[in-house]
């Protein structure tokens, strides 16, 4: 029932009081959705509060004061989904909300789901549970406790933990070191009152992007936009950009130990490349050749040739111009692994790149750009990222940019990549114990 393959595009429907509304054109999906993002500068004293907002708002609203009632309503609407969260892109914090439901034609009796589902979304945004000029105390207390538990639990996933620690050390003193959910110390300063204050700021002053995708009629969309805009808006906050230029004078080395079996090695680099600059495209190709896929230098040399690791890869942080290399290894192989990794980075600088490597990477990027258009979530993420960085390329033109990257471009980028921080999560001597009670 989908349309033939063609351009996936986005149309701006309205812009009012710092809110931009977009309609994504792609009719092949079975679901209809709204994705909205409120944006704030990533700052220490705001990050925890911002992260707490979606958790509190999801706990009910004036029409559905209990979670049980709210969730039962969603089940009745064929398992509609309403969710929210916090993420960071560069030094911008995004507070996101999401609504999705199966498109009307797939319901048992051609029911109209969009109006009801979007009203539920508006309810949690507009009419949170409030008492004594603060968020409802019991809800606030529980969600703040959960946020703190969540912040503490980042240690559980050792791969992600080592990467986060590497970035924290590397970007010490820069806003990017702040977590997308803030810190425990800052979460403890929050109260039902100051968090409600922050909520009002979000609704009234944060710049926002709204994306609507899937089958839905124009009248319903217009009604949603009108409702959204009718929430009061004040002076719209202006956002700072994320600086990417930084010269490294000395490589920082951090070793930390923990009771783990496998060591995690993380190398943080500065690429000096802005998200929407012409150099961004060769940077992505550079990263692909170095450690983006199974054909990459890191995978081939650390895993396939030396058998030191199950994974060895490099990841770009597009908005902050960072590249992180990660690998899980035995502690005793740490020196050997680091040497092999840095040798690959040198090979890139020296232009020791085969035609096959660059071609395979460019093809992988082309496949990636096309495949993204088969997921509603990825389409939203693509356009939102472009809007955030004031980048005008669409899927096709960005794919063209990747195609035209030359070997010289890649080597030029390689020359500017600087190692900033080496982080190693080291296993303690004593291995972890196990036993039945």
């Amino acid at each position: 029932m989908g349309l033939p393959a063609g351009k996936t595009s986005v149309e701006k429907l309205a812009e009012k009081n710092g809110v931009q509304f977009y309609r994504i054109k792609s009719d092949k999906f079975k679901t209809t959705r709204i994705d909205l993002f409120f944006m704030d500068n990533l700052e220490r004293d705001r990050a925890s509060g911002n992260a707490l907002l979606p958790s509190i708002l999801k706990r009910g609203c004036a029409s559905y004061p209990s979670v049980t009632e709210f969730e039962r309503k969603l089940e009745e609407l064929y398992g509609a989904d309403i969710d929210g969260g916090s993420l960071k892109k560069g030094e911008t914090q995004l507070i996101s909300f999401h609504m999705s439901h199966i498109s009307d034609r797939y319901t048992l009796g051609n029911e109209k789901l969009f109006d009801e589902c979007s009203q539920l979304l508006m309810c949690i945004l507009e009419k949170p549970l409030i008492e004594e000029n603060g968020f409802k105390k019991s809800v606030f207390a529980k969600e703040r406790d959960n946020l703190i538990d969540y912040i503490r639990s980042r240690v559980n996933n050792k791969m992600r933990f080592s990467m986060t620690r590497c970035i924290e050390e590397m970007c010490e003193g820069e806003p990017y070191a702040i977590s997308e959910v803030g810190s425990e110390a800052d979460a403890l300063l929050l109260t039902p009152q100051n968090t409600l204050e922050l909520y009002r700021e979000m609704i009234q002053t944060y710049p926002a992007y709204v994306y609507i995708s899937g089958e839905v009629d124009d009248i319903s969309i217009q009604n949603f936009i009108d409702n959204f805009i009718s929430m009061g808006r004040g002076n719209i906050k202006s956002l700072k950009t994320s600086p990417v230029q930084k010269n490294v004078s000395e490589v920082k080395r951090i070793d930390e130990s923990m009771d783990v079996n496998q060591g995690k090695l993380c190398l943080g680099f500065r690429t000096q490349v802005d998200a929407c600059s012409p150099d961004y495209y060769p940077l992505v190709v550079y990263n692909g050749i170095l450690g983006g896929d199974t054909h990459s230098k890191l995978f081939q040399n650390v895993r396939e040739k030396a058998s030191l690791a199950y994974y060895a890869q490099s990841i770009l942080e597009k908005y902050k111009g960072l590249m992180i290399i990660l690998s899980g290894i035995e502690a005793e192989n740490r020196g050997k692994a680091e040497e092999i990794i840095l040798k690959q980075v040198e090979e890139m600088k020296n232009g020791n790149i085969s035609k096959e490597e660059i071609e395979a990477t460019k093809k992988a990027l082309e496949t990636g750009m096309k495949s993204m258009q088969d997921s509603q979530g990825s389409i939203v993420d693509f356009f939102m990222s472009q809007h955030l960085t004031n980048c005008t390329e669409d899927f096709d033109s960005q794919a063209e940019k990747f195609k035209s990257v030359s070997m010289d471009d890649v080597v030029r980028i390689a020359q500017n990549v600087q190692l900033d921080t080496v982080y190693f999560l080291k296993p303690n001597e004593k291995a972890s114990g196990e036993g039945n009670e």
Binding site: P4, K30, T31, N146, Q262, A309, G328, T367, S371
Partner: protein, 424 residues
């Protein structure tokens, strides 16, 4: 060319089924308007298949834990280079996975589907193992095993299976242990390959904006291997009792993690398996889903958080229901849940909740058709279990509250086991 079609009107999708002369089953789902094409080549062979009769002999062997997964890694290696590189040169993204019951090789691409598809069909039929390349892989898989040793969610899950199963190999780690993989040899790998990688034990699934005849004729052209006959594998008789009620381990985590489960002792297959799986999911959702009184009580009391999950894992060879997440007090939480489950086993689920939750699951089924990869995986999984993913819609229509309550009584009267990971 002869093939069958199954049209699922409600979602507007068609399943094409072709039976190759070797006995290999081939499925295709057309996704008009999608760029991505996914092809999977899988064998009905996973980590639990460790006792079997070697094809062409009367010899029954027991193989080292983790060998199915080891073989999965090794199949990528070919005489003229690594398959991962070859796919990558054509812009495709290749991978494979080994589960309890399946080993599946796949790729996704947007262009050059035919070249990639031919490569997939070819390399899975042609293993190339040497003593040297088998040894080399032990280092890589060793690190994969070490990674899982530090993964608390993985550990809490397998420790639960260890509690649930006395003898059944579902309790074994899919990748094995450093010790067990050290015993793997080229010869043993070939024994496994020749036994399980035979057309009548395998399935090919393709999903994407392609044409059925095109897909099936490539299969005709590429499938060279002949069927080696019926697989004879054996599982131990699993007693109804638990292996143990409780298991605990300490790892570097911020707060305790728990996973609790009940063994389903009744073995079914085909449409009945799907029906039972859905009925148990609805029962779990009713009892401990986000809309339930229990979930909200535990959440309010600070005993569970957003990480709480549940699952109904049912397969032809084994089955269990399980739930868990982070908790400051796993034992107290487990006790409260057990109390509510006892009540569920007595009273069952009421018609109104059943209807509401069923509707929400029907919605999720329709959503699954958004993703080429999900469709491919589900078509393969349901076929290995003797049914069709396109029958799920019909199963929802048939499923009623009295059937669901029968299944509830059969399962939730069994004793639950508890696995806990405590912080160091």
């Amino acid at each position: 060319m002869n093939y069958n079609t199954q049209f699922y009107e409600k979602v507007g999708e068609t399943l094409y089924e072709y039976r190759h002369e070797s006995g290999l089953k081939v499925f295709f789902v057309k996704k008009a308007g999608y760029n991505k094409k996914t092809a999977m080549f899988g064998t009905n062979y996973g980590s639990i298949d460790n006792v079997f009769k070697v094809q062409g002999s009367d010899r029954e062997i027991e193989v080292p834990d983790g060998i199915a997964h080891f073989l999965e890694h090794k199949l990528f290696e070919q005489k003229d280079g690594n398959m991962l590189d070859k796919f990558s040169r054509l812009g495709a993204s290749p991978n494979a996975f080994t589960s309890f019951t399946q080993t599946v090789y796949y790729f996704s691409c947007t262009d050059l589907f035919e070249d990639n598809f031919r490569m997939l069909l070819d390399y899975v039929q042609n293993p190339w193992l040497t003593d040297e390349n088998v040894e080399k892989e032990k280092g890589i898989i060793g690190q994969e095993i070490r990674m899982y040793e530090d993964n608390a969610e993985w550990r809490v899950f397998f420790n639960l299976l260890e509690c649930l199963y006395v003898k059944h190999p579902a309790k074994l780690e899919i990748a094995g242990s450093i010790e067990s993989i050290s015993k793997i040899t080229k010869e043993l790998l070939y024994d496994c390959y020749h036994t399980f990688y035979t057309p009548s034990n395998m399935i090919v699934v393709v999903v994407g904006d392609l044409e059925p005849e095109g897909v099936f004729s490539i299969v005709d052209d590429m499938i060279k291997f002949k069927d080696r006959g019926k697989v004879e594998k054996r599982y131990p008789d699993e007693p109804e009792e638990l292996n143990s009620e409780y298991r605990e381990q300490k790892l570097s985590v911020s707060m305790p993690l728990f996973y609790m489960g009940i063994k389903d002792n009744k073995r079914v297959s085909g449409a009945e398996l799907l029906k039972r799986r859905i009925a148990l999911s609805i029962a779990l959702n009713d009892t401990m889903g986000r809309s339930s009184t229990l979930y909200n009580r535990l959440y309010e009391e600070g005993l569970i958080n957003d990480s709480f999950r549940f699952e109904a894992s049912l397969d032809q060879a084994f089955g269990f229901v399980a739930w868990g997440g982070q908790s400051v007090d796993p034992k107290k939480t487990a006790e409260i849940i057990s109390g509510v489950l006892k009540e569920l086993a007595e009273k069952g689920i009421d018609e109104k909740s059943f209807t509401r939750i069923k509707k929400s699951y029907q919605g999720m089924y329709i959503r699954s058709f958004n993703s080429v990869d999900t469709i491919a995986r589900e078509v393969m999984d349901t076929c290995f279990n003797g049914t069709s993913y396109f029958d799920v819609g019909k199963i929802y229509e048939e499923l009623d509250v009295s059937y669901t309550n029968n299944v509830i009584r059969e399962v939730f009267n069994n004793k639950a086991a508890l696995s806990v990971i405590n912080p160091l």
